[in-house]
Amino acid sequence: MATKPANGVIQQARNEGRTILSEVDAKELLASAGIPVVEAKLAATADEAVTLADGVGYPVALKIVSAQITHKSDVGGVILNVPDATGVRTAFEEIMAAGKNADPSATIDGVSVQRMAEPGIEIITGMTMDAQFGPVLMFGLGGVLVEVLKDVAFRVVPIEPKDAKQMIREIQGYPVLEGIRGQEPADVEALESLLVQLSAFIEANPEIAELDLNPVFASQTGAVAVDARIVLAEQE
């Protein structure tokens, strides 16, 4: 349950020879920069998991934390909507067992515990490194169709508030964010400031090579990253 200082997250990964940050570490890093995330905390035991779940409030989501297991849901390492303490104990044991079963050699740090996010419109945002322009920020509607439709907008980091405004309005799916067919609109201003904050975060952390916030849930009351993934640059 110990929290590492934000800058320690990257250092620790470096010390351990890792370039991929765990969801827990990635979110900690993002949260320390003021980027809204559904905070995830690591529980090494079922007791710790229950204490954390009691703290954030039910229902909760539990996810496996292991440097070797990157596709968490594929191995049965994710259980959502856990309603109470009893459920948390069962889910904890199930996830640990599933992880060991999937990869007996994997080091499993435990299970991350987070509250279930309020549902919203699914957004994907992130950063990739371009050979000519350096870090490039992406924004689009998330969900299963994103890879087919490629309805995404890009800007080179650093961006200004004007750029965030434009990129959100540039995607074909923008009317979805304004609310269609009685659906509630998303808090577009919250998305704009998320993008500007993310740009500043990327500027401040040049060691980051890739970043995905996928999904971000955008609702009427704000925008919050539900899952996060950060990859550090290989060291020369």
Binding site: D130, A131, F133, G134, V136, M138, F154, R155
Partner: protein, 474 residues
Amino acid sequence: MSELKANLARALSPKTVVVVGDKRMNGYMWLRNMQPFSGAIYSVQVDPNEIPGIEEMGVTNYTSLADVPGDIDYVLCAVPRQISPRIIADCAAKGVAGVALFTSGFAETGEEEGAQLQAQIGEIAREASMALIGPNCMGVYNAKLGIRQSGEQPTGEAGPVGFISQSGTHAINFSLTGAAQGVRISTSISMGNAEVLDVADYVDYLTDDPDTEVIAMYVEGTKDGRRLLQSLKRATARKPVVVWKGGVTEGGTRATQSHTASLTSSMAVWDAVLKQAGAIETLSMDDTIDVLKALLFCKPAKGRRMGLMAMTGGQSVVITDAFERAGQVVPRLTDGSYAKLAEFFNIIGGSYQNPLDMGGTIGFGGQHDHLQKLLDILDEDSNVDAFAMELASGFMARRWQADPSSLDTMLDLLVKHRERSEKPFVLTLHPGHVEEVTAQARAKVVERGLPVFHSFERAARSLALATDYWLRDT
């Protein structure tokens, strides 16, 4: 200003020019290109077989750059690649401000020797803060001073367009095709392999150049994208920038696992950069020239609502589709306009809802008082921000051929209208079935400084892109 920037400025506005290595085999191309130059021009050539031909042109030849009298601002170097490091070193020793290296066979070959030679000349130039343009380029075109990349380029007054091109062919074709349509160059730089100076350096120069009102460029890639973005932003705050992006880089792609990376293509990033910079992105040379015509020959539009003037019903439909597809709007006119139109508009075979299907009303170009009234009505109509008119080559070309003055009179009327009106006004003239006649007609329109496009679609797209720029802060 850094020494390199100061040297570039000298090289692009030279007082003394030297051509190194010009040859009979090329028809002494470079010395001929510089013939209109008003300043001092010298040749450096060691080959005794070449020197008489050079001297016959009235140019003083030296066998060493060191012997050339006075300061040298611009050297055009056309020696074989193995000799080029020595000549570049001579230039550095002489304190030459800038050298354009026509010679090719460097990094663009993809082979080791070429890359090494390029690195070598780059190092010599950087060491001396000398403005090395290229290698593998056609150098500089300064219309006012008579420095050229091709003997066909017009000289005299500076035009308003600064041009940067990664390709020598595009630099020359753009200047010639553009000039034929009234789009003239201030300074054009063929930047070739961009060993020392990159796109951003030339953008910076043209941003500060008082003769350049609009910057346009053909660009394939850059070594420093972030610096280019900063330079483009600085430029667009002062003048419009039009970017014709060619090619997609392979270096930008690499295998990654993240969604963001898999959704990012190099072209998508360029699109984003140009939007972020507030530049206008074009798709071809013609597209670039078209947008420049709208930017240069139209007063800025305050909106997207079009008044359209066509000769027939069929064209009225198609011109409307073209403008609406391009993102412009074709609204109803005001009731006041309709009342005025009802007084004289010939509705037998015509209509005036907008578009004005006006062939019968203006006697197919013969009834100038009616044409004048239509222009005035659209100009005063508060629902109209800009207007477009068809010069109907399909059935007018033979009449213009038979009676050239009929076209002249109409065009003079349009020029007067354009001077009075604050709204953008564009013309379309399709090449049609008698291109030699429409070509003459087009030349007459261009001569008068009116923006004329080859099709409704091209007029619509260009005006829409220019309008994006005019309305960028709204």
